[in-house]
């Protein structure tokens, strides 16, 4: 245990970002403290039932959603679906490990001025991130990279592949999953349990809870403190972060001295912590001279489509998101919107599917659909959501949570571009299902945000964002943001691989700085 008075390297969060940075530093012999708000859940504790699994690991501290997004209507107190546990949201992620596309690092240059959007280019290129993507793919064991074999084509993917081919699409793949197709790196091969979001009981799916965290512990250099909620980052007279105040497992407030702080609390808790760390020197919140902390919140344009097929599919058997169609991921303004989208396979358990079908609908129409469960197949839309300055995380002026902290308010209004992209994507899924003979097709709206990005975005110009390309705060030289909050745009791809690649690059930068005596 690192002494509270010893100025430590403190990482807040143990998910894809925090767990990765912790591992990279401890592997180099550098001592770190990780503060994790949640508890340690062991793989054998995972429950193969959606409701129980959701209750076991979801971050449900009170929040408030406002604006025109669906969450504000149907789940205003819990608009996100992220995990509060050691390993963070890598416990429930579906393992899709896609790289962003080259043009997606330059949305301002490529898309131009878009009504209702506030675009900047990333201060780094795909070429700069490529080697880190490759390292990330190796660490996660991503199928189809580094000679790692693909999984067999599961039933849901067979539907998507055939549908896409019949419509003339070319780029369909079941590769790039961070789920072992055979035993590798101390983790088992996938046995196709199904519903990866419930937590992987055999650890075939990569998570920091089964890879980076135990490995870091084994170095003897990780001081992991679960059930420890960071509530404030303090700074010294020079404006450098020098302590993290947190509530420990016993409910007592502690103050860990710090010489360097990495925040990796996901894109709502990360800006919330900075906003809660305001001071005379940083009256708008720590590292917020730009006023951008909390702004440009993005969660992807999402939604689902389910179809009733003429013969059995059994979508519940095996990997939940087993492949994707990439043809529509391009930027093609002729379609009437900027950015692109992926169509991914999707399976839902009956109770979840029933909840997500139009709640205003019931009776015979819904019963006949759910009652044909083994004939259903599913697709998920994952599209680029453009950043808007007023889609943002703020602190509620009056309402406090169970710890007495101001609850975060997440405001999202949907832009014309997002709506146009979604309409196009839904026409595509409709056509895909029609192409394989679906006789009943349901478009469903998904309320809960799982891909959270952008709230401390990286920028070349300190006035346009909060951190630089390494995630280092423009205002505070020993404060880093490690998670998806740093994304300058959302891209069409699932964010985790990019988060890990950026975290690897950041950790390398921090280690070099430490070696030079910068911190």
């Amino acid at each position: 245990m690192v002494d509270l008075d010893e100025p430590a390297i403190v990482i807040i969060g143990s998910g894809a970002a925090g767990g990765t940075v912790a591992h990279e530093l401890t592997a180099r012999g550098i001592q770190v403290v990780v503060l994790e708000a949640g508890r340690h859940i062991q793989p054998h504790e995972f429950v193969q039932e959606d409701g129980a699994a959701f209750g076991q690991m979801t971050w449900l501290d009170k929040r408030r959603a406002t604006g025109s997004w669906l969450a504000a209507t149907v789940s205003p107190a819990a608009p996100l679906w992220t995990v509060k546990a050691v390993g963070g949201s890598t416990l429930h992620w579906n393992g899709l490990a896609y790289r962003m596309q080259e043009h997606e690092f330059r949305p301002s240059s490529e898309y131009g001025q878009i009504e209702g959007a506030d675009l900047i280019d990333w201060p780094l290129s795909l070429a700069e991130l490529d080697p880190w993507y490759s390292k990330a793919e190796y660490k996660l064991g991503v199928t189809g990279t580094h000679g790692i074999p693909l999984h067999g084509a599961n039933n849901n993917y067979r539907v998507l592949w055939n549908a896409a081919r019949r419509l003339g699409y070319q780029r369909i793949s079941n590769g790039n999953l961070a789920i072992n197709s055979a035993p590798r790196d101390g983790r088992a091969g996938c046995i196709q349990l199904g519903f990866c979001n419930q937590g992987c009981k055999v650890s075939a799916k990569w998570s920091t809870a089964v890879s980076e965290i135990p490995r870091s512990v084994a170095t003897g250099k990780l001081d992991l403190r679960p059930n420890s909620m960071a509530v404030r980052i303090e700074h010294d007279a020079r404006g450098r972060a020098n302590a993290v105040v947190y509530r420990d497992a016993a409910g007592n407030m502690q103050r860990q001295s710090a010489r360097l702080v990495c925040i990796a609390g996901n894109a709502v808790e990360t800006p919330r912590l900075l906003l809660m760390s305001d001071s005379a020197r940083f009256p708008q919140g720590l590292a917020n001279s730009s006023g951008k902390v909390g702004r440009h919140y993005m969660h992807h344009v999402g939604g689902g489509t389910f179809g009733l097929l003429p013969k059995p599919v059994n979508m519940h058997r095996g990997i939940t998101v087993s492949g994707a169609l990439f043809d529509e991921a391009r930027h093609d303004p002729k379609r009437g919107f900027a950015g692109g989208y992926l169509i991914e396979t999707m399976a839902l358990a009956p109770s979840t599917l029933a909840m997500l079908l139009d709640p205003a609908d019931w009776g015979e129409r819904n019963a006949s659909f759910i009652g044909s469960y083994d004939h259903l197949a599913g697709m998920l839309i994952c599209g680029e959501e453009l950043p808007r300055a007023d889609n943002r995380v703020t602190l509620d002026a009056t309402e406090r949570d169970h710890l007495g902290l101001p609850i975060p308010v997440i405001h999202v209004d949907r832009s014309p571009n997002d709506l146009a992209l979604e309409r196009h994507a839904r026409r595509t899924t409709q056509s895909l299902f029609e192409a394989v003979g679906a006789t009943d097709i349901r478009q469903i709206r998904t309320a809960l945000a799982t891909h959270n990005m952008g709230t401390t975005r990286m920028s070349a110009d300190p006035q346009h964002g909060v951190v630089n390309s390494f995630g280092r705060a423009h205002d505070v030289p020993n404060l880093f943001v490690s998670d998806g909050s740093v994304f300058a745009s959302s891209s069409a791809e699932n964010p985790t691989l990019t988060i890990v690649a950026l975290a690897l690059r950041q950790a390398d930068h921090i280690a070099s700085g430490l070696a030079r005596g910068d911190y």
């Binding site: 409701g51 819990a78 039933n155 539907v159 369909i172 059995p312 058997r317 019931w362 083994d374």
Partner: protein
């Protein structure tokens, strides 16, 4: 006009009343909008249900649930057990809300909800959509039914797979009515 489904509900109620078993099973508390407001599933908890009540409201509530979820494959006894459990929840306010909702329903039905034809019942239920009673019953029935392995098993959902070794050797890729992907 009486239709087959309500008369069989009556029979199922009689059968259930003949049993004296006390139910203890997963229940939904914090119904409807309250549960939804903290997320899709946050209202789930384990509570014990006190006793089976001898009560005509059971048959009406079972019929309402069946009308909301008219699965021909599902036995009436499932809906009756659901109704019994709901009318026996520990939360008194919840019980009162359900009772008053059922009274309102019967008032609108002239005291003969179960004797109405299916189309008339559905029309009446539709007029209640958006009420707390309707939302609560719909949400609770949805969770109860679709989380019950015996129910969803009838639709082809095979449930938790770990104890059976997953689907690697049990058909994760057995779809043959479309060509194999290249």
């Amino acid at each position: 006009m009486r239709d087959a489904s309500t008369s069989s509900i009556e029979a199922a109620v009689s059968a259930a009343l003949a049993e004296t078993a006390v139910l203890s099973r997963r229940q939904v508390i914090g119904f409807g909008t309250a549960a939804l407001s903290v997320g899709m599933f946050a209202g789930w908890m384990d509570t014990a249900v006190s006793a089976v009540s001898v009560d005509p409201a059971v048959a009406t509530l079972a019929t309402v649930a069946r009308d909301m979820f008219p699965h021909r494959q599902v036995a009436d006894s499932v809906f009756v057990k659901f109704a019994q459990s709901q009318l026996g929840v520990a939360d008194e306010n919840q019980r009162k809300m359900l009772r008053s909702g059922l009274e309102d329903l019967e008032r609108r039905a002239g005291g003969k909800y179960r004797q109405l034809g299916p189309a008339a019942r559905v029309k009446l239920l539709a007029s209640l959509a958006g009420t707390e009673f309707f939302s609560s019953v719909r949400f609770a029935a949805l969770i109860n039914l679709y989380s019950d392995p015996a129910v969803v098993g009838l639709f082809g959902y095979e449930g938790a797979s770990f104890a059976k070794g997953g689907y690697l050797a049990r058909g994760y890729d057995d779809l043959r009515w479309l060509p194999d992907p290249e």
